[in-house]
């Protein structure tokens, strides 16, 4: 069935009159220079994200303070990541089928690294992989993201070009801008509808 459908559809499309293929007009996406981090912060905060500047020395301590404030103790982490006393690190070290119950109900926060971030829209770029699976940034009610300041760029076009995305896309690439939200009921914003209710970004200013 699908083969015949394919042939019929393509035949109809090929028989149609063709328009000229237009050129891509010049377009320069916005850049921010020295104001890059300020722009990133403003855009992220505008969509209910929280942002803190930390260092490679003190980020773990900051996480433990931030999570203690929220009464969160059980934290899903990439295998090998250790957390200060007081937090229970639950490694995402098995396939989701084994961990479903823990992921859906059993942890209060999840920690991932960002591959990059985009100042223009206050966006985090994640390429989930075997160590930091896709659901780690989605199921726990609080998502904590570690971002190296050096990986903050101006716009999406820049990150795609610098990291040569077209040469090979990962299984899943994500752009995340704020916590999960909806405005489906009378255009009133509500957070945490299916994904995290809170998004906390720690910017490692010395990395």
């Amino acid at each position: 069935m699908s083969e015949t459908a394919r042939a019929n559809i393509l035949a109809r499309l090929r028989a149609a009159p063709r328009q000229m293929v237009p050129d891509r007009p010049d377009w320069t996406p916005p850049t921010y220079g020295e104001g890059r981090l300020a722009r990133f912060r403003a855009m992220l905060e505008a969509v209910h994200g929280e942002i803190h500047e930390v260092t490679t020395e003190d980020w773990a301590e900051r996480i433990s303070v931030l999570l203690a404030d929220r009464g969160a103790t059980r934290v899903m982490v990439p295998p090998g990541m250790t957390l200060p006393d007081g937090l229970v690190a639950v490694p995402y070290d098995q396939p989701v089928e084994e961990l479903k119950a823990v992921l859906v109900q059993g942890v209060e926060a999840g920690i991932t690294w960002a591959k990059a971030a985009i100042a223009d829209t206050g966006t985090l770029v994640l390429w989930p992989d075997a160590d930091e699976p896709r659901l780690l940034s989605l199921l726990p009610p609080i998502h904590v993201v570690l971002l190296r300041l050096g990986s903050l760029v101006d716009n999406l076009a820049q990150v795609m070009a610098e990291q040569t995305w077209a040469a090979g896309m990962p299984t899943n690439a994500l752009l995340i801008s704020g916590p999960s939200k909806t405005a489906d009921i009378e255009q009133t914003l509500a957070y945490g509808v299916h994904g995290p209710k809170e998004l906390i970004v720690l910017v490692l200013t010395d990395a």
């Binding site: 149609a16 007009p25 989701v96 859906v104 989605l138 899943n172 909806t182 405005a183 009921i185 255009q187």
Partner: protein
């Protein structure tokens, strides 16, 4: 049922519906305007978006083949469907072979076009909508009234009653956070136990074989990540040529739709779960649906309809849509884009009234992020609907032709072609026109809701002569 005109009064006379739409449309228009306050930046971004989609239309068959090749190489299974019935059969077959009994769905207008939920339920498979708006209308047993915000026609009180009735343990509350939390709790279990996830696609990138989905809630990510099987359904036009096209398109879509700089999530899927990866579906399928689109493509003017990225800005700014709401259109795609798309997909014989439900005010054209000439296409479809000797590009052409109307236009043409007839006609109308009864068949629809203009006592030529202008 009936036509648009007969359905409209019920909506126009419903004060709750009117208020719900007015509030929503005003909010959406002002949020969008704030995003595009810099007119130069808007025009240059829009030129980029329009060119990206025009390139897709210009090279559609080649890009579809490239997309198919890259998806297949990435391990995603590609299916083609000429009709919605074929697409339903393909989805059902995939689910049955996987032994799936329950499906969790992300928002997809193509699946609405297919009436996929009904089809699956008729075959014993339960499909649960997970987008909050879609979940609400599924509970209410209704269809979406807007392509981006499906339950925009409902207010808090209506949703509170609906949840009270359908979610065990939840009393009546109008608190939006409480309603949202109740839906989250009700759907978490569904996500965890679903055998498959079904989603739409916003952009399928031919260059890399990547499915791009935008959303705010996270339900789209859950539907495409947690269940072991993911099926994406998409129209054959929803392509982007290259990743390089995404920055402009991903900027235009949410800003035009909801006035957001970007959606909370942009989810780019290129493969099923790979060895060593711990989550994600083990199998990913894509169903490419034609359902009339290749016919739209067959006409050089009409094929611009296929640029649409489904942002909904045209309906948010439409003076007709904002007063009658989405359900009055009866079909899946309402508003200006619906008025040009539906008659082409379904035929003018069953949706020929749609292009006429417009004031041609051009607001939709001004806000369209990919520059679809909606007004020109509306006029073209109006002509096709009454012209039986038309181009044959649209199914059901000529089905709206009325003998009396065509007679009147023939008389009009004759009057303007022959000076003596013109003088006779205008003389007659100035002397007798005001005596014509309001109830005349051609006049009634106009005079029943409007004050009739009065004819002057003399023709323009007579008035000119009285003033001393002798020559014509």
């Amino acid at each position: 049922m009936g036509d648009f005109t007969s359905r409209a009064p019920a909506a126009l006379n419903d004060p709750t519906l009117r208020a719900n739409f007015r509030r929503a449309m005003d909010g959406l228009m002002s949020k969008r305007a704030a995003q595009f306050a810099d007119k130069d930046a808007w025009e240059s971004l829009r030129a980029q978006g329009a060119a990206a989609k025009a390139r897709v239309v210009a090279r559609l068959p080649e890009l579809l083949e490239q997309l198919e090749a890259n998806l297949t190489q990435n391990g995603i299974v590609v299916h083609w469907a000429e009709t919605t019935a074929q697409a339903n059969a393909i989805v059902l077959d995939i689910l049955q072979k996987a032994g799936a009994k329950t499906v969790i769905k992300g928002k997809s207008m193509v699946s609405e076009e297919m009436e996929l939920n009904h089809h699956l339920e008729a075959h014993g498979i339960r499909a649960v909508e997970s987008d909050l708006g879609e979940y609400i209308i599924q509970l209410a047993g209704e269809a979406p009234s807007h392509i981006v915000m499906p339950c925009i026609h409902k207010n808090k009180a209506e949703i509170a009653s609906l949840f009270e009735k359908n979610i065990a343990g939840l009393g009546y509350t109008e608190d939006v956070d409480a309603l949202t939390a109740a839906a989250r709790a009700a759907l978490r279990g569904q996500f965890a136990s679903a055998d498959a996830g079904i989603s739409g696609v916003n952009f399928a990138v031919a260059e890399t074989g990547t499915l791009v989905l935008v959303e705010n809630e996270g339900n789209g990510r859950l539907s495409t990540t947690l269940p072991p099987l993911h099926i994406a359904v998409m129209g054959i036009e929803k392509l982007a040529e290259k990743l390089d096209d995404l920055p402009a398109l991903l900027s235009l879509l949410p800003r035009s739709a909801t006035g957001q700089a970007i959606t909370t999530y942009v989810n780019m899927i290129s493969r099923p779960r790979q060895p060593g990866e711990k989550d994600g579906p083990k199998a990913v399928h894509v169903v490419l649906l034609d359902s009339g689109r290749s016919r739209v493509y067959a006409d050089a003017q009409l094929q611009d309809t296929l640029r649409c990225i489904r942002c909904g800005a045209c309906m948010n700014h439409c003076p007709v849509y904002s007063r009658v709401g989405g359900h009055t259109y009866k079909f899946v795609y309402p508003g200006p884009i619906g008025k040009i798309l539906t008659p082409q997909l379904e035929g003018l014989d069953c949706a020929g009234d749609q292009p006429h439900a417009s004031t041609l005010c051009n607001a939709c054209v001004e806000v369209c992020p990919v520059k679809i000439p909606i007004a020109d296409i509306l006029v073209r479809l109006r002509a096709e609907s009454v012209n039986s000797t038309g181009s044959g590009a649209v199914k059901g052409a000529g089905s709206m032709r009325k003998r009396l109307e065509s007679l009147v236009w023939k008389g009009w043409a004759a009057m303007y072609g022959v000076p003596m007839l013109y003088r006779l006609g205008s003389w007659g109308l100035t002397r007798l026109g005001n005596w014509l009864p309001d109830s005349l068949p051609m006049l009634k629809r106009w005079t029943s809701v409007r004050t009739r203009p009065r004819f002057a006592a003399k023709t323009l030529h007579e008035l000119a002569r009285d003033k001393g202008y002798d020559h014509e």
